[in-house]
């Protein structure tokens, strides 16, 4: 791994972010809107539901964590799409950069984009709704790490599709996370799902992350097993995502789609 090249490619995205104030505003705008929306829904549920009684902020915390996942994945996809939209794709793929260096650069840069959006949103929730995601404590770092790895994995899978099928795959980039959201049990316990769906849901890290978040906020108990499981499953999917990306890249070279994507 040549870190100078990873830094070089990351610079491309940092320069892009810093060059445009509307772009920074866009990164902050959507997570903040989510906080407003879910803040009011959360307030209503807290006042009206016995389940959520005395558990102020569970829904809003879930919304913040889910948005973190969403932003991680979208950031990754967006950075890849930027190369296609700017017709820079060919220049990038003929440069002496390894695929793993491209993945590393996108992964490291996606966290910056994600945090630009999420930090103001999470801070906004404190004075506006009296909800602090930081109440989760140290396990929050593990939960965010797991969410980030899984978000990047979804980004990798979508970018693999972009390489394989070209820019027409772009719509899938936007839809990918909504497909998994119902199975993630973000706002409700896993028991709500039919039994056969619970089996599928458990092989995703999301259920373990959000169940653990509720466990900490509602019961004040930390299950390290659940956290370990969430991270392990996320890493497994990440490795799968990397493999799919390599396979798509090799396939694109055979089909010649790298040239079509780039021009």
């Amino acid at each position: 791994m040549n870190w100078n090249k990873v830094y070089g490619l990351s610079l491309r995205h940092f320069y892009l972010i810093k060059s445009s104030f509307p772009r920074i505003l866009d990164l902050i705008y959507w997570p903040s809107i989510q906080i407003f929306l879910w803040g009011f829904i959360s307030k209503f549920f807290t006042l009206s539901s016995s389940y959520y009684n005395n558990t102020v902020g569970v829904i809003l915390s879930a919304a913040i964590l889910y948005d973190f996942l969403f932003r991680s994945s979208i950031s990754y996809n967006m950075m890849f799409l930027e190369e296609i939209w700017s017709r820079n794709f060919t220049n990038l793929f003929i440069s002496p950069i390894k695929i793993k260096e491209i993945i590393a650069a996108l992964t490291l840069t996606a966290i910056v984009r994600t945090l630009i959006g999420m930090v103001p949103a999470a801070l906004l929730a404190i004075p506006l709704f009296g909800v602090s995601i930081f109440k989760i404590g140290l396990p929050l770092i593990s939960l965010l790490l797991s969410l980030y790895i899984f978000g990047i994995t979804l980004g990798l899978l979508v970018t693999s599709g972009l390489i394989r099928f070209g820019p027409s795959f772009e719509n899938i980039a936007w839809a990918s996370l909504f497909f998994l959201a119902p199975l993630g049990c973000i706002y409700y316990p896993i028991e709500i799902l039919p039994e056969w769906l619970q089996v599928i849901a458990k092989i995703l890290p999301l259920v373990h992350i959000f169940e653990e978040m509720r466990n900490i906020l509602i019961n004040d108990i930390i299950s390290y097993t659940q956290i370990f499981l969430a991270i392990t499953i996320s890493i497994f999917y990440f490795m799968l995502g990397v493999a799919v990306f390599y396979i798509s890249y090799a396939g694109a070279k055979v089909r010649g789609t790298l040239i079509n994507v780039g021009e």
Partner: protein, 244 residues
């Protein structure tokens, strides 16, 4: 650096885009690749740049098979410019050159950026966003990017397309001058026959994925009894049977 192509072929399902082609570019030579649209030029360049996997045949770099060589090491000695491939428009010229300098592992990058910028009259645009430049300026930035690593083999796809005669002439002069000073091997795909006559030592003519003729510009003009390369190109492009 010497580039040699042996029996190179690319099939896409039932369509053969490039059919069993052979050519070589000796160190410091310029090879022109001519042919009508869809003749296989882009696919050939794509294979040489490692973007497309050949179905058959070999690409040899200094007599070593590309497939057996370290991809990154080889690509660090190549570069490519085309008006159809752009640099990020929202970034300044300097930022773009810095990024590609880093990707190509260029040492003393600040000095190199200044050098190519001075050579291509880009110094006054260095802090301007690439997307705000005229097509002639963008074209020179693209050329600067392609020279940032002092490539041993340079691939140029229609480097003066859509440029006014003055800028076009500047670019051709620059390529000529750069070649004489740096012993770079160049593969030039172009539809501008005067440019090809001026810059190329050898020419291959492609049609429907095959090389239909080759030689120096003058030898092809003489062989086909035409007055210039453009008329020769038209003859070859329109009448394949005559060649057979």
């Amino acid at each position: 650096m010497k580039l040699e192509v042996k029996n190179l072929e690319k099939k896409f399902k039932n369509f053969t885009a490039v059919k069993n082609i052979n050519f070589h570019i000796d160190n410091g030579q310029t090879l022109g690749v001519l042919g009508p649209n869809g003749c296989g030029k882009t696919t050939t360049i794509g294979m040489l740049l490692g973007l497309i996997k050949p179905s058959n045949g070999k690409i040899l770099i200094d007599d070593e098979n590309f497939e057996n060589l370290n991809r990154e090491k080889i690509l660090s000695q190549f570069n490519f410019a085309s008006p159809y491939v752009e640099l990020p428009k929202k970034l300044t010229v300097k930022e773009n050159l810095e990024i590609y300098g880093r990707l190509y592992g260029v040492k003393d990058l600040t000095r190199r950026i200044q050098e190519v910028s001075d050579d291509l009259n880009l110094s006054i645009f260095l802090n301007k966003k690439t997307g705000e430049l005229s097509s002639g300026q963008k074209n020179r930035v693209s050329l600067a990017k392609s020279l940032i690593n002092n490539p041993k083999i340079l691939f140029l796809d229609e480097p003066t397309a859509s440029l006014d005669p003055d800028i076009g002439d500047f670019v051709r002069n620059y390529i000529e001058d750069y070649k004489s000073k740096n012993k770079v091997s160049i593969l030039l795909a172009s539809h501008n026959m005067k440019e090809v006559e001026r810059l190329c030592d050898q020419v291959i003519m492609m049609k429907e994925g095959e090389i239909v003729d080759r030689g120096t510009c003058q030898s092809l003009i003489d062989k086909h009894g035409r007055n210039n390369l453009e008329d020769t190109f038209l003859k070859l492009a329109r009448n394949k049977n005559e060649l057979e």
